[in-house]
Amino acid sequence: MSTSSDGPRILPDAESAREAIETESVVVKRHGPFVGLREKWDGLPRQGQWAWMLLVVALAYALPYLNVFPLTTEPGNDWPLACFSMAVYALVAVGLNVVVGYAGLLDLGYVAFFAVGSYTSALLTSPDSPLMKIPYLWTLPVGMAVAMIFGVILGVPTLRLRGDYLAIVTLGFGEIVRILATIIPAMKGQVGFQNVGHPPGTQADGIPIFANSNGTPWYWLTLTIIIIVTLLVGNLERSRVGRAWIAIREDEDAAETMGVPTFKYKVWAFAIGACVGGLSGALFAGQVGFVNNQKFDVQTSILFLAAVVLGGTGNKVGALIGGAIVAYIPLRFTAIADYKYLIFGVALVVLMIYRSQGLVPAKVRLLAYARKVRHRDAEPPAPAVRRGGTTEGAAS
């Protein structure tokens, strides 16, 4: 978070905030169930990492068929559909992680972009809509583009605000989109749009492959998209843009002073986050086949945020895991489904107090040349250097 502001600020809290960040990064380095795992992972040669990654991906693709006891959902919830739901939440979390995790902008209205994607997809494919019809798969890029435009429209006026004001303004934006979907007659409010399109292809018996009740193909489609998006986001993270985001997150004033055009990169973070949100919204609309104004409330936004924070803010693997968990738990334990918001609310508080870095903490490393530096440092066994903040650069 930044330490100074455009807005009215009362406490000159630069000192305490910096101390807080420093203590925070120390905590990040020392704790975590995945720390040993990460060191092992970092120690593997590139080929080994690829092999493990392929195994994980293969397992992920096989997930709809792993309907075995500890994993499976309780009766009444279809397992492949649950897989799809987990995948959509994971995709949303990856997108929100760009905004909250990388750039440190607290967006409480992320569901608005999800809604924009869903409505775009519905308006362009549903027979209930008077607009021209295009094939469903084309609505994915169109939904992304429209959501991105909304992201820029929201971002340009509001991103000049700092931290907490941004939070309240995005929350308001989320509400505005939901209310507009209710008020504008063309958006059909609670009636909504039936028979949203789906990708082409039918089985031998004439039933579409991408039927609403058949979660597996939808899950595979979403998983493929997740892999592509994660790779792209990972590349961005390691690029100039990603370094700028992390600099903004750590200290916006310092970033600005060092010549980072902070406003531009904040808008970029917003636009890219919105883009992924729109994409997941379009996927969701296609699978459910029905879009109305009921799904896009503040609660869902907070659930998305809970997914990112739970997984580990600033870590895309964490975001994937967090998203999947948030979607999975209410389906796995239907007895507690009514309590899900209570549980996630308490989880947010407890996590912030005891483990603010989430399940999978963000990596601590030099941003640009991680591998090179790590290998150079690994030769002399000097953990102090590797752990120290000075040679490693910014803690991420």
């Binding site: 406490l11 775009t120 169109v142 008020i183 508080v349 107090i353 603010s356």
Partner: protein, 336 residues
């Protein structure tokens, strides 16, 4: 692109947004007085946001739950005292006594909620020197947890309506009837705000609050007990939210529902920002203004849901043009 399609397509091009100036002109004064009444409630809640923001630099999202807990306290007290959907037939003296009791219970419930919130959620974070994002996320998490705790206990339905007294017309201004309710709410809110303002500007504790808002470390060095001041700030905000809860139940008898505080809280925060966050007088001014503007917007655009949209748009515009709000000066900088 969507916009383009919406305007060019013959079916979608029906008038979903109409500016009905005629209706606004006709209902101008009643809209103003209704807006003032709601605005007074926003203002009372906004003080809680402003005080906590002044002292901790934290948007206390859970303040809306502090408010709604107070509203539950008020409704339950009144129901226990025999109030129901229709106005009671007892004497005016006993009504006043009952309302005062409900007010006290509401204030205690809210203050207790605020105190617990501070102890359970925020204090451990301060101990750990957590970054500011952690505070915000905790606030949201706490807000959610309390909301759905109420949901689990009281269910998804609103509490049964409670009418406190016959809302009788008192006098006529600009051809608009002013009701007893409106007078009671606005005057009581102003009295409470003046008392709060005096408490912060005059008293020893108030000086402590201002000192901590200005510079917590120096205040501590000067012998101010920072932790105590923070607790007092939360409790003070809670007391006012509890009072607001009574007026809210008076105005919207069937509005006490588990998530009823959330949007109201956001609008109250918008009011605090509008008036200048960290400024107690600004909170009341912002609340009244936001109430009026929202009401005008809703009549002008013809749907009650527009009130929220208008309120948020106004908030964004104010932040862009004057980020410190209308009155601007912060709690810590107001003169001793």
């Amino acid at each position: 692109m969507l916009d383009l399609l919406l305007t060019t397509h013959p079916v979608l091009d029906n008038s979903w947004i109409t500016l009905d100036f005629n209706a606004l002109a006709q209902n101008f004064w009643s809209a103003t007085f209704d807006g003032l009444t709601f605005g007074a409630i926003y203002g009372l809640i906004a003080v809680g946001y402003t005080l906590v923001y002044g002292v901790l630099n934290l948007i206390n999202f859970a303040h809306s739950e502090v408010f709604i807990v107070g509203a539950y306290g008020v409704v339950m007290t009144l129901t226990a005292l025999g109030f129901g959907p229709s106005a009671p037939t007892i004497g005016i003296g006993s009504i006043i006594a009952d309302l005062l009791l409900a007010l006290i219970v509401g204030m205690i419930c809210s203050a207790l909620m605020a105190f617990l919130l501070e102890r359970i959620a925020y204090r451990p974070l301060r101990r750990r020197n957590a970054p500011r994002l952690a505070f915000l996320i905790t606030a949201i998490g706490a807000s959610f947890a309390v909301q759905y705790l109420i949901f689990v206990i009281r269910g998804a339905n609103a509490e049964p309506a409670v009418t406190m007294f016959v809302n009788s017309p008192v006098f006529n201004v600009f051809g608009t009837i002013i009701f007893s309710q409106q007078i009671i709410i606005v005057i009581a809110a102003i009295v409470l705000m003046v008392a709060t303002d005096l408490f912060i500007r005059r008293g020893r504790t108030g000086r402590g609050i201002r000192a901590v808002a200005q510079d917590p470390d120096t205040a501590t060095l000067m012998g101010v007990n920072k932790e105590r001041i923070i607790v007092i700030t939360f409790v003070l905000g809670g007391l006012l939210a509890g009072a607001a809860a009574l007026f809210y139940v008076m105005l919207v008898p069937s509005g006490v529902i588990y998530n009823g505080g959330f949007i109201l809280g956001i609008k109250a925060f918008a009011a605090a920002v509008l008036g200048g966050i960290g400024n107690v007088r600004g909170a009341l001014l912002g609340g009244l203004l936001l109430g009026i503007i929202g009401n005008y917007g809703q009549i002008l655009l013809g749907d009650s849901q527009w009130a929220d949209v208008v309120a948020f748009v106004v908030l964004v515009l104010v932040l862009l043009i004057r980020p410190t709000g209308i009155l601007g000066t912060a709690l810590g900088r107001s003169r001793a």
